[in-house]
Each structure stands twice: as structure tokens, then as C-alpha cells.
């Protein structure tokens, strides 16, 4: 058979491409559910990972039932808009843990795109934002977990911040990335880096609520963490995305903090406890804000 004729070549390539496309489509579709399940599990374990840092005695085993743990410890999960109003509830899996709803990174990306438009001045989008808020009760500590998402050096980076009831003290943080440089930017996902966030606070009054910068460039240590050397762009991108997300969560955080202060009697006790675990600078900053209020 002449395998070099034009007709043969065209037919051969067409058949080959169609065949390969069919195989890939079939594989992608049959593995889709399993992959989505993995992404959801991953998100849930990240949420738990961030929230659990509030109490060091709360540990998550390697092979733990993440869905069950989530359902047991979550108090509420809902969406808020850019004005801080609660707009929609999420299934917390109290009745059936297989029905837990969480927002995965693709949802976060959609919100991030809206932020960009908002930054360009389309302020009518503010009420269209759907920002997920997860409230956990970890051994008596009430923590609010909010996500952040942004562009790193090679691909998206994202993470979850667990906030105290005052809406600005960070109790825990966890980050992840699609493809930052292994050994450099990828370190944002490692404990030595995200551990540094514990006890830091958002700057609720200044221009930048939080910064990740080179240690010599840090002016407000209570609102900043040291960047990773050799991964300047990833670090700065992370700082920027935390800032951007915190900015749009701010209306909600302020409202929630005011509400919890108004109706909790036991709150002061817990707050002193939280302040004890942070270092002196933070306590001072926290007191200052209290005075202002």
C-alpha cells in the first residue's frame, strides 16, 4: 500500500485525530466525577487545616474522614456579597455529609475576575459578589474561614485564612498553588511559611490590610509576614491577593465582629486568651483598635 499518497495521508491523520479525541473525551468524562471529588475533598481539608490551627490540640490524621470532620465542626457556611450582607446558605452536610457544598478554586476565580472589574470602577458589581464564608467551632473557638485567590508566577495561587471573632486576627492560614517553582514559590504551601501568619492582624484602617514583603521592607510587623527568598514574585502576588480579598470581605468582617461583640458575654474571656498566644506587638495593636471603637 502506498502510504505516502495525499489521500492516504489526509484520511490517516483524520482518523487518528478523531480516534485520539474520542479516547481522551471518554477518559476525561469517566474520570471527571472522581477528579471533582478529589478537588472538593482537597478544599474541605484545606478549610479544616486553616481552622484547626486555632487550637494545637486539634489534629487531623492522615487518613481522617475529612467530610465527617467538616460536618462535625462547621457551624455555618454561606455566601456574602460585597456589602457584607448574607445572601445564600451552603449545605454544611449536617444531615448528609456527602452533600457538603464548598466553593472550589474555579468558583474563587470567577469572584476574582469580578474584583478586577470592580477595581476598574464597575461598582454596581459589588452586590453581585458571592463570597464564601465558613464558620467553624474548633473546641470552643469560633473561627471564620475566608479564601483568597490570585495569580502567582506561573499559575493561580490560593489559600484560606482563619480569622478570630474580632474579624481581624489571623488564627490560621493555609496556601496552595497550581505550579509555582518547586522548592521556591511552592514553599507557600509549607508549614514554616504559613505558620508565620498565626497571630498577625489585618490593618482595618490603613491602605494595605496585609503585606508579604522582604523583612527589611516591613514597616508594620503586626500586619506583615516575611516573604520567601528566591520567590519574590510569588510572595508579592500572595500578599496582593490576600489584600484584595480582605478588602471585599471587610464590610462583612466589620459587621460580624460588631455583632459578636454586642451579643456575647463570654467573648472578652476568649479574646484575652487569643491575645495571650500572640506576641506583645499584636496585643498592643488590638488594644488600640478597641479603644478607637
Amino acid at each position: 500500500m502506498n502510504t505516502n499518497g495525499n489521500t492516504y495521508t489526509v484520511i490517516y491523520s483524520t482518523v487518528l485525530v478523531v480516534l485520539v479525541a474520542a479516547i481522551l473525551a471518554f477518559v476525561a468524562m469517566s474520570l471527571q466525577d472522581k477528579q471533582n471529588e478529589n478537588v472538593k475533598l482537597e478544599t474541605i481539608s484545606k478549610l479544616l487545616g486553616a481552622a484547626s490551627q486555632v487550637d494545637t490540640t486539634f489534629t487531623i490524621e492522615e487518613d481522617a474522614d475529612v467530610l465527617g470532620l467538616y460536618a462535625d465542626n462547621v457551624v455555618a457556611a454561606f455566601f456574602v456579597d460585597g456589602n457584607g450582607e448574607k445572601v445564600q446558605d451552603m449545605n454544611t452536610g449536617k444531615e448528609d455529609k456527602n452533600k457538603i457544598e464548598v466553593t472550589t478554586t474555579s468558583d474563587l476565580k470567577a469572584q476574582n475576575d469580578k474584583f478586577k472589574k470592580l477595581e476598574e470602577g464597575q461598582s454596581e458589581l459589588l452586590s453581585e459578589l458571592r463570597l464564601p464564608v465558613y464558620i467553624f467551632d474548633i473546641k470552643g473557638h469560633k473561627v471564620t474561614v475566608i479564601p483568597c485567590y490570585g495569580a502567582g508566577l506561573w499559575g493561580p495561587i490560593w489559600g484560606y485564612l482563619a480569622l478570630d471573632e474580632d474579624g481581624k486576627t489571623i488564627d490560621g492560614a493555609i496556601f496552595d498553588h497550581k505550579g509555582e517553582t518547586p522548592g521556591l514559590g511552592s514553599k507557600i504551601a509549607d508549614k514554616p511559611f504559613y505558620g508565620k501568619f498565626h497571630g498577625k492582624t489585618f490593618n482595618m484602617t490603613g491602605e494595605d490590610m496585609f503585606t508579604v514583603a522582604k523583612i527589611t521592607a516591613i514597616t508594620e510587623p503586626e500586619h506583615s509576614v516575611d516573604a520567601i527568598s528566591g520567590a519574590t514574585i510569588t510572595s508579592q502576588a500572595l500578599g496582593k491577593s490576600i489584600n484584595l480579598w480582605a478588602k471585599y470581605y471587610k464590610p462583612y468582617l466589620v459587621k460580624a465582629a460588631a455583632a459578636s461583640q454586642a451579643n456575647t458575654v463570654s467573648a472578652p474571656e476568649e479574646m484575652t486568651e487569643a491575645a495571650d498566644s500572640t506576641f506583645a506587638g499584636n496585643t498592643a495593636a488590638a488594644t488600640n483598635v478597641n479603644v478607637e471603637e
Binding site: S13, K178, G179
Partner: protein, 207 residues
Amino acid sequence: MSDINYKEVLLKPIFKGNPVTVLVLGICSSLAVTVQLEGACVMALSVIIVTGLSSFVASILRNTIPNRIRIIVQLVVVSLMVILVDQVLKAYAYSVSKTLSVYVGLIITNCIVMGRIEAFALGNKPIPSLLDGLANGAGYGLILVVVAFFRELLGSGTLFGFRIIPQSFYDAGYMDNGLIILPPMALILLGVIVWIQRSIQKDLQEK
């Protein structure tokens, strides 16, 4: 064609005809994924699977491929394998697939895969081609692991994420070499490996 020396097919790519140090293929990814040993190991495994299967499939198709479009056909076969590996990893080994991230996709551009299909699979039967692919992947993987071993040990003081260099060394003034984490040092390490190999194997030295 029937008298293929299987031992030769399997062993040559590991040392004497190593794709990285002798043929100097696949340098790009050996610089990129050798910062940590774990990533290097999984990458090595993925490349072994992809080179093996692609050579196998290309060899089955070898008599039907129109000569004028053979490179593009090879490319389709290789990318099919790479995407399959990527999808399966995402579904059944999610954490591993996350460590490797973009580099799995980049196996497509690894010159070794195409090189072996061109040089071997198109002229040999499926089974020897499969073995040749696997062996070349292993030869590549070996270099990757060796380079990653030194880079992680000297650059971060760890192996597989576990601390190897004791804290007392750091207290005494020892410091991790930050330079070794950066790609240029990987190239230098690779050069050293080539040097060692050529001083053992004199027939590789150019006059």
C-alpha cells in the same frame, strides 16, 4: 531484526548511552524538577511510563504512518499518553499530581520521548520498543534522581523533606547553599556527572 539483544536494549540507556549525559536530551526538565527528590522520583516514573507506552504504540503504527507527517503523528501519540497519565494521576493520585503540577504536561516536550520513537520504535517491533522506551525513561530518571539528591541535600539540607543535616551543623555556622537551588547549579552538577562518566568511559571522549 529478530536478533535483538534485549540485555543491550535494556542496559545501554542506563549508563553507556544515557539519554541525558551522552545524548544530551531532556536537559530542560532535569534542571526544572530536581530541586526536591520527591518530585524528581515521580517525574522519573511518569517519564518512564510515557516513553515506554509511546514507543510501544508508535511501533505498532510504524508501518502505516505516512512518512511526510510522521513527526506530527508521533506528537499526537505522545500527547495522548501524557494526557492519559495526567488524568489518571489527577483521579487516583491527586496529591502526587499536585506536586508535579505543570511538569507532567511538559513531558510532551521532552526530547527523549520523540528521540526514541524516531531512532528506535519506528524501526523495531513493539516489544523491544516498549523495553527501549522504559529503559531510556529509566536512564533519564536515574540522572534526575542523582541530581535531585545533591540539590536537595546541599540546597535545603533535607532528603524527601526529612532533615538530614543536623541542627548542630547550623549552630556551628554551616549554611545551606542557596545557589544550588537555582537552575545554573543543576547544569553544573550535570556537567560534573558527564565529566565523571567520560573519565570512566574513555571511548566517549572526543579527540
